[in-house]
């Protein structure tokens, strides 16, 4: 799966990225994690608040830092 983490680089987005990596490790399997910091890219996806997360192109949430457990659930679901 392709996991995109959207954020300009503040502490919250870095935490989300870290949590994503943790969840991906736990989930196993083949996943690509991409960090998107470009504002134009975020606007093109309609993101209003960061950090935000998309899985396989679908926006899952924005404006919160999800825990590894929550991300794991999203990966499995």
């Amino acid at each position: 799966m392709l996991i995109e983490v959207f954020g300009p680089g503040c502490a919250k987005c870095q935490t989300l990225e870290k949590n994503v990596h943790q969840a991906v490790e736990q989930a196993g399997g083949d996943h690509a994690v991409v960090k998107v910091s470009d504002y134009a890219a975020m606007a093109a996806r309609g993101i209003l608040s960061t950090p935000a997360l998309a899985i396989d192109g679908q926006l899952k949430f924005q404006g919160k830092v999800a825990s590894p457990a929550e991300i794991l659930t999203l990966l499995k679901g």
């Binding site: 954020g7 300009p8 680089g9 503040c10 919250k12 987005c13 504002y39 134009a40 975020m42 606007a43 093109a44 996806r45 309609g46 993101i47 209003l48 608040s49 960061t50 926006l59 899952k60 949430f61 924005q62 404006g63 919160k64 830092v65 659930t73 999203l74 499995k76 679901g77």
Partner: protein, 359 residues
Amino acid sequence: MSELPCTSCAVPGKPTQRPRPGFWRKGGWLLLALPLWALVYHLLEPTANALTTGLFGLDLKSHWGSAIAFFLFDAPKVLMLLSLVVLGVTFIQTFITPEHTRDVLATRTGAWGNLMASLFGIFTPFCSCSAIPLFIGFVRVGVPLGVTFSYLVAAPMVNEVALFMLLGMFGWKIAGIYAGTGVAIAFLAGWILGKLKMEKHLEPWVMAITFNAQAASAHRMARSERLEAAIQGVKDIVGKVWPYLLVGIGVGAFIHGFVPAEFMARFMGRATWWSVPLAVLIGVPLYSNAAGVIPIVQALLGKGAALGTTLAFMMAVIGLSLPETIILRKVLKPRLIIVFISVVAIGIVMVGYLFNFIM
């Protein structure tokens, strides 16, 4: 196609099916904790005083004595108040999303838009790093520039956490003044900026990029999810803010214990005409979390600083921050940034004078 039952299918618009502790199980817990909270809160001051005299052997009227008693009382008090306030406010905030705000504001024209944007700004959380996506999202969907600015001023300046803490510590009047003047400044600043027609001072890429207004996830939160979010909010915010708080309380304790009353009255009192602009000038480049500046406000007021000057200082500190300005530079050309900061700063100074005059 999987034969196994899917335990965590995310059906758009419906809460996920995974098992989750019920609202009343978690909520019931909290309801029981409330009277306990109130009891502990009530006992904080006497305990702080007793510890200062008993454990440290200090006279409460001495410099060190009053500073330490202030610190011992204020630190747990502010932390407890903050936790309670963040819990409630975060819960309410799960009902208001940026998408809601944006959609509502897109349809309002004229001064009404500025007013609504300012009011919305009170109740929405504001993370500086979201400033740009938010700004773009609003402007591109047709929210007028001035209205967007009203929101951008109100959201950090009238901090909902600070508002309720002021309510808890100083009562309705001061909290109301803070909210009212914050909204007024945001309204005026946005309205003036709108009239100045500075749309061409936006960085060109803002209007040039593709924008998608539909992407928001359609998930509706269940009550227990909102409660979970509220509890997580307390952990996040208190976890992030407590160093600022302790520094703020330390400064407050110092002012309380060591700064003579006449000093504050001289510098921040009503008699000196330059105290308000000075307070704002000092406050603008300073950055503190809203919760951290409140103990300082408390100490200043206790030492006789004028209400207008103190409010102006507080709003300058939390309303305009250097990190936010640097971030906004990406979407606003320098002249627009300068106009933005100036309009807000002048608004704050005027509020300061107004309240020194009428109080």
